[in-house]
Amino acid sequence: MVMGLKSGDQGAMAQLYDRYSSVVYSVALRVLGDTGAAEDVLQEVFLQLWRNPSAFDAARGSLGSWLAVITRNRAIDFLRKRRPETDLEDVVLSVSPDLAGEAERSRAAEKVRGVIGAMSPSQRSALEMAYWEGMSHSEIADKTGEPLGTIKTRIRAGLICLRKAFQP
């Protein structure tokens, strides 16, 4: 489908939208809490992919995960009214599970929610503040009264927990 975008195939964009719009919209809405703003971010993410399909390289990761990360980043930029800090082409990621299909994503989402639910409240809170609210570690430290180093370690440990849950 991304190859179709590169050749200007509008049908390919429709297919991509049908497959991934639920992920993109859910992430945007989770960050922004506003359906209008989430819809605007949805438009922007897909339009950016249309304008620059080479920003995603299939050899470097899965499109669904890449779109999820791009959407989260752009939504946070919108939320915090700040300039984008990373170019699309520079967002390279690797994900263990295959998330190409709706069923795989649904199972993965269920597992992720389980892992998050099992975290300590302070770890879950730090991770969610960083991820869904775009707070910096110093902002989280100020809000929670915890030391900077503790916040940093909790956030990293939370991400590693997620990774281990999906390792074979």
């Binding site: 719009s21 919209y25 989770r30 949805l42 989260r72 990621l93 599970p97 992720v112 940093k152 990774r163």
Partner: protein
């Protein structure tokens, strides 16, 4: 492969774009030289992607799909402009490329060419029908004519705003001309004498509304002659334009202006 432990926590924050200022600069400098940390960063971003996938909620409204496909259909493929000459930076002084091409005569000539093209298309559609073209061919011709009408309308309609943008600093001046038809949310923008850009950068056009933040109105890269254009970018219909502005952004564009305004023009 083990990342450098002293960077491990900062890498995780960087992956979530939660690292700021000096710490961010330090980790970026380290990443430029450390393949193992770059690999770990990819893993951490993947971990973040798993977190993103935990989000659930309603599906996007049906109108969002059509809105996107309409925008895609209107979005010009910017294949006509060639990549910027590889000077690696924007020249501090704008280079003169000659006077007259985009003078007032140029605008009139452009409008005349579009009118002529529209009449050619109309004539072509009639000939096709006379030659017993298929229903699909007739529909395609009507769509093309309508598209040309939409393109020409901001230039030709009496109520369309015509705004000249000039550079804020010394001559010779890049020029921009925006033709905006508010009722249709239809915009044609033509630029000339634009300096070349570094790779992966583009000029971004902004509609400045009567109130609220500037609205992204398309990106373009100048060709070898410094000319560029934006044709009917997706815009909210009915938006009153106080003016237009140009900034330099990454070539994919930006939802918010991130650099100083290079050119600006307000309504006549």
């Amino acid at each position: 492969m083990n990342p450098h432990e002293q960077h491990a926590d900062d890498l995780a924050l960087y992956a979530l774009e939660a690292l700021r200022g000096e710490e961010r600069a330090q980790i970026e400098a380290h990443l430029a030289t450390c393949a193992s940390c770059r690999l770990e960063l990819e893993q951490l971003r993947g971990d973040g992607a798993l977190l993103a996938l935990s989000a659930t909620g309603p599906r996007a409204p049906q109108r969002a799909r059509q809105r996107l496909l309409d925008a895609v259909a209107r979005e010009p493929r910017i294949a006509a402009t060639s990549p910027a000459a590889g000077t690696g930076r924007i020249a501090p002084q704008m280079e003169a490329r000659g006077p007259g091409w985009w003078g007032w005569l140029g605008w009139a000539a452009t409008a005349a060419v579009l009118l002529f093209a529209a009449s050619l298309w109309r004539e072509n559609s009639a000939l096709k029908q006379n030659l017993a073209s298929t229903t699909a061919q007739a529909a395609e011709g009507a769509q093309q004519m309508e598209e040309l009408r939409r393109i020409a309308a901001p230039i030709l309609e009496p109520e369309a705003q015509k705004i000249t943008l000039v550079a804020a600093k010394a001559p010779p001046q890049p020029q921009g001309k925006a033709f905006y038809l508010r009722s249709r949310g239809s915009l044609v923008f033509l630029a000339s004498n634009m300096p070349p850009l570094p790779p992966q950068k583009a000029y971004e056009l902004w509609l400045i509304p009567a109130s609220g933040a500037p609205i992204a109105a398309g990106v373009f890269k100048p060709d070898a002659h410094g000319s560029g254009s934006v044709v009917n970018p997706p815009l909210p219909p009915g938006t009153q334009a106080k003016g237009f502005a140009i900034t330099v952004e990454n070539e994919a564009g930006s939802p918010t202006a991130t650099t100083p305004i290079l050119m600006i023009g307000t309504g006549e």
